[in-house]
Amino acid sequence: MALVEVRGVTKAYYTSRRKDQARIVLDDISLKFEDNEFVCLIGPSGCGKTTLLNLLAGFERPTAGEVLYKGKKVTSPSPERGVVFQEYSLFPWMSVLDNVRFALGSKDLPEKEKDAIARKALTMVNLADSADQRPNLLSGGMKQRVAVARLLAMDPDLWLMDEPFSSLDEQTRKKLDSDILNIWRVKRRTIIFVTHSVDEALHLATRIILFSQSPGQVIREWSIPATMSRDPTTMEMITLRKEITDAMPACACADVRPIEIRM
């Protein structure tokens, strides 16, 4: 049995408050995610990647079809399926340590143990020294590392990551990507990672799923063995990169009339 199964999922939203029209964002998607996969969902913006992640997390429900987690229908969020959000999602009134400890709130553990787990998680993301600081003193990269530490503390079987580092600068993003890869290698969990960057996907994934532009459908999938070198200058990676880029649909903005520039 697959860890996660998406069965014929369609998701549609009203296009306006008049509710006289609905737009289909995900169009009859069926996917399976196995244990210990690192799956990257890529595609043009507006293709429903984030929507699919929200359905997997249980923040929203499908318009049709169903999402199964370990064979059970997903109806609400659960600490079994951790999420790192694109936006900053820390609680500003809690210290960094308390933010991480909050992730252990629903677990029946003695306070001392929660403290130890939270501190260990912060150490893993190199933030042990910032444990007592407030999030507003942290840089964007540090905030997202705290969000990762929350998941490390929670230790869910499934990690859902929605363009977690896309608002960070290139250097920081690469560093955090490598950190995530290490965590995945050590923890042996399943990660579903949304990105719009082919390079990021090639660096991380054992499987890349390419979505079409709206309404989102799966165009193609590629499997990359975890053992394969991710050096972007190897022939294999260059070929794969070209293959994916060529298959990638033009971005949604392409069908908009080009801006006229008058002198």
């Binding site: 923040f59 399926r81 999420v83 959000f85 936006e87 009134w93 709130g105 999030p135």
Partner: protein, 299 residues
């Protein structure tokens, strides 16, 4: 403000004291100077009020010179205020302190009740997307009723006297607080709620540990606005429901007795108390809350 030339000028004076390549320059506390500036700015603003008042009184009394009654000038007013406060002069048989305490007492009772009801209703309406569209209708209807228009209802329920005033204050400020609190909760970003849910927070935890801290500043602001409405309508209510004691009652009685200077002295007290409550009490509470909640920007 686009540029803050004062800041640059102040820092520029200390650029010379830079130690080697150290990017941090020690400048020293700005606090005494800042306090002085605040005091001066406030004094200037106050001076404008007094100046306009004095000019108006002078024009009314001495230039127009058709008045039967004199328009109280600042000096007469403050002189009487001094007598009320420090010389033990009574007003309508009570000391000024009795009037102040009576008004403050009504305000506190009504405001406390309004806070309890407003927080409760605001929390329910803000939290429940199902109840909000229904509940906001009566709240909006009540909001449109001006303070003194509650008078007939207040008199029917409580008759003349203090309780009618308390009811009017309660009616006005509870609605203001409800709307502020509900609005605050509804503005909490979805990602915050989702993050808490994803980490396994149940309804109670979500409300207590996430929503409540998140909207504390909104709640304080709602209370602040409610406090202001309560204070203003309190005086008005006291003027019409015959409370027998209190600042509003004193204003209307001194007016009837043609003691306009006395009325003005009471108005000055009302302004001072209102300003103290808003600018000192609530401003400090808000500053403290922002700090505790880590919601300060910069620094």
């Amino acid at each position: 403000m686009l540029f803050n030339g004062d800041d640059d000028a102040r820092i520029a004076k200390h650029l010379g004291s830079r130690k080697g390549q150290d990017p941090v320059i020690t400048i020293g506390s700005d606090r005494p100077a800042a306090l002085m500036r605040t005091a001066l700015t406030f004094a200037l603003g106050l001076f404008i009020v007094l100046l306009v008042w004095q000019l108006f009184a002078w024009a009314y009394n001495d230039v127009l010179d058709r008045a039967v009654l004199r328009f109280p000038a600042p000096l007469e007013t403050f002189s009487m205020l001094w007598d009320f406060l420090f010389e033990g002069r009574t007003l309508l048989g009570y000391s000024i302190y009795d009037h102040i305490m009576a008004s403050l007492g009504r305000w506190m009772v009504a405001f406390a009740l309004a806070t309890v009801v407003g927080l409760g209703m605001g929390a329910v309406l803000g939290y429940s997307t199902a109840l909000f569209p229904i509940g906001i209708v009566p709240v909006s209807v009540f909001q449109m009723i001006p303070g003194l228009a509650w008078l007939p209802i207040a008199l029917l329920l409580f008759g003349l006297g203090s309780n009618a005033a308390v009811f009017i204050i309660f009616a006005v400020s509870s609605v203001v607080i409800t709307i502020g609190v509900a609005g605050g909760i509804r503005r909490v970003p979805p990602v915050v709620v989702r993050a808490a849910r994803m980490m396994g927070a149940d309804d109670l935890t979500l409300f207590r540990k996430v929503l409540l801290p998140y909207v504390t500043v909104d709640i304080i602001n709602a209370l602040r606005v409610g406090m202001g409405s309560a204070w203003r309508v309190l005086i008005a209510a006291e003027m019409v429901v015959g409370t027998g004691i209190g600042l509003g009652y004193a204003i209307t009685m001194t007016k009837d007795l043609l003691n306009y200077v006395g009325s003005f002295a009471c108005i000055v007290i009302i302004c001072i108390i209102g300003l103290l409550l808003d600018k000192v009490l609530f401003a400090e509470i808000e500053k403290y809350a922002r700090h505790r909640l880590g919601m300060e920007e910069g620094y």
